[in-house]
Symmetry: C2
Subunit: 336 residues, 2 copies
DNA sequence: CTGAAAGCGCTTACAG
DNA sequence: CTGAAAGCGCTTACAG
């Protein structure tokens, strides 16, 4: 496997020349190049990326990292898809680390990726001032944040996210126009910036239409399936339950649906529901779900694009990219 | 960042000694060890994994690869979860490559992982005699195959999968006992071994109960959402449509549900359905879906366990682990 | 118990 | 256009 050497021997050149052929350097004569390429094919040689990465401090290693809070969440699966597709087209490999909302685990993956000397990373901060990620940026790595930005922090970084407030605003307004006023909001974990933005959208819409906000209708615990189910049950147990519910992410929606179905309640006759996050199978639900779509795919793709730009040009100005959401009206809400 | 050296300078020892401390070698005096550890902490040093991996051909790199055909499929997400949890507990990082059923892409990820010198890989072969994976094994890497085995191939390898035939058999038998005889089967891609096994389970159950098999009721194209939707539509368009349908995976099920709902058909009144693959949100569907559960999580966990054993002891006997499936009866099938 | 030195497989000035 | 040589950051016999 001492391979550069073997190829060199077979082609009767120095290892430097073989290296040049591999790296498409200009300064190799066509004849030599052909000979080396033949040898490479004959030996079925492929360069040892570990050695390449160790040696070349300047050139690209063609490897990026992707650090995600929860691979169980279909939204992040879409993000992966977007990142991978773009990266793959540009001949980059993607190393994925899933930290499951656990900051210790996040740090481990970030450390590994750094010591792997990746070209850059795409990461979803675990909260607004995620020191782990800040440190990575300070260490000089190219980083693009997705889904959640970094706030009040002394580093400059690209962010790709969605206009959460506006997206929720539209959904709540739609519900109000349908005649709903007792609109519940099942939110995610209160420390996550997106949670706050989504609550703000809810409040803004209620205010605009002069609907009184009943704080007992805004429920939060975690951002997962269990929480969605649990909080929905609590809502249904209220003396005066809501006529509509807005669920602030994928997993919460699914959990809420479970509780609704368990009670034998019919959507939308007994209760209307809109979820944040559309899923490719949202129309496979019964009834097909009305949802606020944010395209994880687009976010991932844009993030990958920005990251590759940063890698090429580290001095590029950093920006925030706010993609817009879309209200997909299907059949889970009824007019009162 | 020339760090071993810096630590060595600060602690006033040689780099060899620092290396020994890092690798918990026995032969360092407590006093020296303490001094080095202090220096490491003061400099916030962490070893360059790239260099470590390049240098140490024998010791473990604490990195495994996971090569999957379709990260969009929730089953594989469960697999990831299982692998990661086990790996993480044992201090291994997991590098994920998603080849999207594309063999060229599969080869690229396999090549990257090999040149990354991972300790081993977990992979789902793209078909029964996947030469890409066979080659990796021949190159001397520890590999555990999941979901799909390798057949008629001259390498010895651990396989973790599920008893597909038996799982489908039980589901079809359940349908027959409910009084169904016109039972359709929407299968996956015919080149994938699991597809064949699942069809065999279907046929075996039909035979056992003397139900005539109508070949026009067995539909196949690809293993994805679109195919599920398309094939279900074709089934519904038949002169004498089936009273029940078995869908051979996650994505096919979701696609079929879409077509059923589009027609305004009610499950289970108008048509009964059982899907292969349970999802954590299957009970969030309306009605909650009856399904054959194979635990992607368990498969992933078992595969990770086997892989770590193989890494420790490459001569370990290779085996097939066939996990069993479970029919989860919920509410998507009715008695005729 | 510790250090000097070789070497993992590459890339890249430098010299010719 | 090509080669000899240094060196990336580590680990590990070997010697003491």
């Amino acid at each position: 496997m001492s391979s550069l050497k073997k190829v060199a021997e077979r082609a009767n050149v120095s290892i430097a020349t073989v290296s040049r052929v591999i790296n498409n350097a200009q300064l190799v004569s066509p004849a030599t190049q052909a000979r080396v390429e033949l040898a490479i094919r004959e030996l079925n040689y492929s360069p040892n990326r570990v050695a390449q990465r160790l040696r070349s401090r300047h050139s690209s290693k063609r490897l990026i990292g992707l650090v995600l809070p929860d691979i169980q969440n279909p939204f992040y699966v879409d993000v992966i898809h977007g990142v991978e597709e773009f990266a793959y087209q540009h001949n980059f490999a993607v190393m994925i680390g899933n930290f499951g909302q656990d900051q210790k685990k996040e740090k481990i993956y970030l450390d590994i990726l750094q010591s792997e000397k990746v070209d850059g990373m795409i990461a979803a901060p675990s909260h607004g001032k995620d020191e782990n990620i800040v440190q990575v940026i300070k260490n000089g790595f190219s980083v693009v944040c997705i889904d959640r930005g970094l706030v009040d922090v002394d580093v400059d970084v690209d962010v790709v996210k969605v206009n959460n407030k506006e997206g929720v605003f539209g959904a709540i307004e739609y519900l109000i126009e349908l005649g709903h006023t007792r609109i519940a909001h099942i939110t995610g974990h209160p420390l996550i910036p997106t949670t706050l933005e989504r609550v703000a959208g809810y409040e803004a819409a209620m205010h605009k239409h002069n609907v009184q906000i009943d704080q007992s209708l805004i429920k939060s615990s975690n951002s997962d399936y269990q929480s969605g189910a649990q909080l929905m049950t609590e809502l249904l147990d209220m003396e005066e339950p809501p006529s509509a519910v807005f669920t602030a992410n994928n997993l919460l929606t699914l959990g809420a649906l479970k509780s609704i179905h368990e009670r034998g309640l019919i959507i939308p006759d007994d209760i209307s529901i809109i979820g944040f996050d559309d899923m490719y199978w949202s129309m496979s639900l019964n009834p097909p779900l009305t949802a606020v779509r944010q395209s994880g795919y687009d976010i991932g793709k844009k993030a990958a694009e920005l990251l590759l730009q940063n890698i090429l040009n580290p001095n590029k100005l950093k920006k925030n990219f706010i993609l817009s959401t879309e209200l997909i009206v299907r059949k889970s809400c009824k007019r009162l």
